[in-house]
């Protein structure tokens, strides 16, 4: 009855949370905008305002284009390849095979390790000449293949992407698997009666029914790809040279090694804009598709 009063009191309850949210989230973000026009080095509290020099500087440097390119490649491959493999795995693990539970856990296990552990293990797997892959290739008699995965300009980025996919495949698979369980049996039976073969069942019944899972997985891997930092940091240090610099890694390097917090903030703002743009496109297109599905 007295709902008007109720509603007003309710607002007060938001205050503490709002306060913390502003203090630890909004204000630092606004600070970022402030720092992006200074030569702050993250360390000495005296700094000067330098206008848009940082941005100008960034647009002239090759690191911006390079790290955007790397981030987009990283994102694109993890999204496409990661999801296709996960989908295929989900179909396999949903089939009636022996020791299904074992396989399901086996594929999920990599997800449980921290990125540091995974990165370390894989640096040894990728080690030239003596790593797991190199010695395996040697054993089966393939020689003359360049096994310097992390130290090669053309292979390093793809090598770390492979690790990222390997690690995260479990999560996507589980989500697809859960989606597959919810596909109603009567639909499949109806399809069978109508004479649909195995491929048609997948193409016209199962995949459309997985639309929500696909949206979730694609969105998660887009986010994961755009904020890629762990593996370049652990496995290649952005190298060789700058060939595995992602946006976030370049930002970290700029802020903490070059001590250019100002410039790093400017890069932060550029990537912020970029990520918002990409996410917006995704959300719009995926939403539209889901409605129609």
């Amino acid at each position: 009855m007295n709902s008007a009063v109720m509603r007003k009191t309710m607002y007060y309850f938001v205050l503490p949370a709002l306060l913390f949210y502003c203090l630890f989230w909004i204000i630092p973000i606004l600070k970022l905008f402030q720092y992006s026009v200074t030569d702050y080095n993250g360390y000495v509290q005296k700094f000067n305002y330098v206008g848009f020099d940082n941005f100008k500087n960034l647009f002239q440097s090759e690191i911006l284009g390079l790290s955007i390119k790397n981030t987009l490649i990283y994102t694109f491959i993890t999204v496409v390849l990661g999801n296709i493999i996960a989908l295929a795995l989900a179909f396999l693990l949903n089939a009636n095979i022996r020791a299904k539970g074992f396989y399901r856990s086996a594929f999920y296990i990599p997800t449980l390790f921290s990125a540091i552990v995974v990165g370390f293990i894989w640096s040894y797997v990728y080690m030239p000449d003596e790593g797991l892959i190199a010695s395996f290739l040697n054993k089966i008699g393939i020689t003359g293949f360049d096994t310097n995965f992390l130290g090669s300009y053309s292979k390093a980025l793809y090598s770390i992407i492979a690790v990222d996919i390997w690690k995260n495949i479990g999560t996507s698979t589980i989500i697809f698997l859960a989606g597959l369980q919810t596909v109603p049996h009567d639909l499949i039976e109806a399809g069978k009666i109508d004479g649909a073969g195995r491929w048609k069942l997948v193409r016209f019944i199962k995949i459309p029914m997985l639309a929500t899972s696909i949206t979730i997985n694609v969105t998660l891997s887009v986010i994961n790809g755009l904020k890629a930092f762990d593996y370049p940091f652990i496995m290649t240090n952005g190298g060789p040279g700058t060939s595995t610099n992602t946006l976030i890694f370049a930002m970290y390097k700029m802020a903490f090694t070059d001590q250019q917090f100002g410039k790093a903030s400017a890069l932060g703002i550029i990537s912020f804009a970029l990520i918002i743009a990409i996410t917006a496109i995704f959300v719009f297109t995926l939403n539209r598709r889901e409605v129609s599905a």
Binding site: M1, N2, S3, M6, T9, Y12, F13, P16, D39, G42, Y43, V44, Q45, N57, S123, Y126, M127, P128, D129, T147, N148, F149, L150, G151, S152, Y153, T236, N237, G238, G239, P240, G241, T242, S243, K253, F256, T257, D258, Q259, Q260
Partner: protein, 451 residues
Amino acid sequence: MKTWKSKIAGVTLASLFAVALSACGNSNSNSNSDASASPSAASPAASAANADPVTLTMLVSGAKAAEGADFELDTLPKLVKEKFPNVTLEVQKLPDEQYYTSVKAKLAAGEGPDIFLVFPKLANMGAIEVAKAGYAADLSGLSFWDKVSKAAASDMSYEGKPYAVAKGMDILGTYYNKDLFAKAGVTELPKDWPSFLAAADKLKAAGITPIVMGDKDPWVVQFGMYQLAANTVYPTDPEFDNKLQTGETALTDAKWVETVNQYKELYDKGYVVKGSLGMASAQASQQFIDGKAAMIFTGTWDLPGLAAKGAVDFERGFFSLPGNKSGEPLYASASTAAGYALNANSKHLDLGKQIFEYLYDGQSPLFQAWVDSNPSISVYNGVELKNEIFKDVLSEIQSTGNAFYFSNQMWPAGVSDVMQSKFAEIIGGKKTTAEDVTKAMQDKYKELNKG
């Protein structure tokens, strides 16, 4: 019904609100009392150093000793406790990169450690920078400065006042495997660039990898490069870096191009292990101690790791990478090592100074422990050289004075990174030239140097 429900809800919410408010109030008053208590506790803490228990924090960089007690993590806190029973020293040791990040963030937030590690001159976390920013305390009042070498003190000084006590002197050099040298028929240590190349060639011809470098850790590029710069850049122009600051010269100077070309030559001719970009520095050290490569470039600080027992036993040696032309004198690359500094804003600054006096008094058990554990070459008067392996290079430096510092000590942090990442392109077989490397270095220098 509805009113009854909403009343209950209202009461519940109101009481919750009250609880929340009082909780806030409590925490507020707590933190207030904390805040008011700490300054009053802080001021007498120093004078009453023998009474109230005090905790000092210390943050340093490096790796924990592989075996036995670590000086900073184990020995130092223990011996400080023995001398100052009320003082607990909490020490944290981080890998270099994390150290830079963490100590700067803490200092900037006003929560810096009481004791921390500072590097000489303009290097990352260099003495000049931390002193300028007001984070390091002026140590000129301490009594032991007459026992520390002038050069070491001045490398840690800003405007004539010392801000840190260097651990010693570090020399960049080439560790080599005497057995492999003998096997390849290299009987005499190379004394200039042509003879070095000849020696590497002999090793290669004998089927031995001449040099192993862990280029996946990009910073190792510096270890060879600065030794070459000490011969190629500075001897003809000792003031090079000062001129660099004023803009009189640039890193694109022919001397630097030549330096980079010299280092490039080692890769072009295949003297450095293939696939070095995929190998981390620890893996490279392992290759060296396993006797799989004849040489590795690094500094005196790496002796414990490189003297460790590997797959085969062999005798190690150490020499300065000769970048000099034949007939010209050989210069070593030697610099003041990092050292401890006190936080200028520490609540326990006086206590910190007392600990420093004790640590560097030249006779205390703590001083002895420090000397015994220190891999750097001591700059403290009257301390003997412990490691025979460095004797030749050191006595050469002492008798001729032919040595220059590590170039990055006069560069803003970031220039050496560009050098590394550009040079990695050369290692990776890209078409990058030495001119490209020096140009990138100069561009970064200009961007970061604010005079």
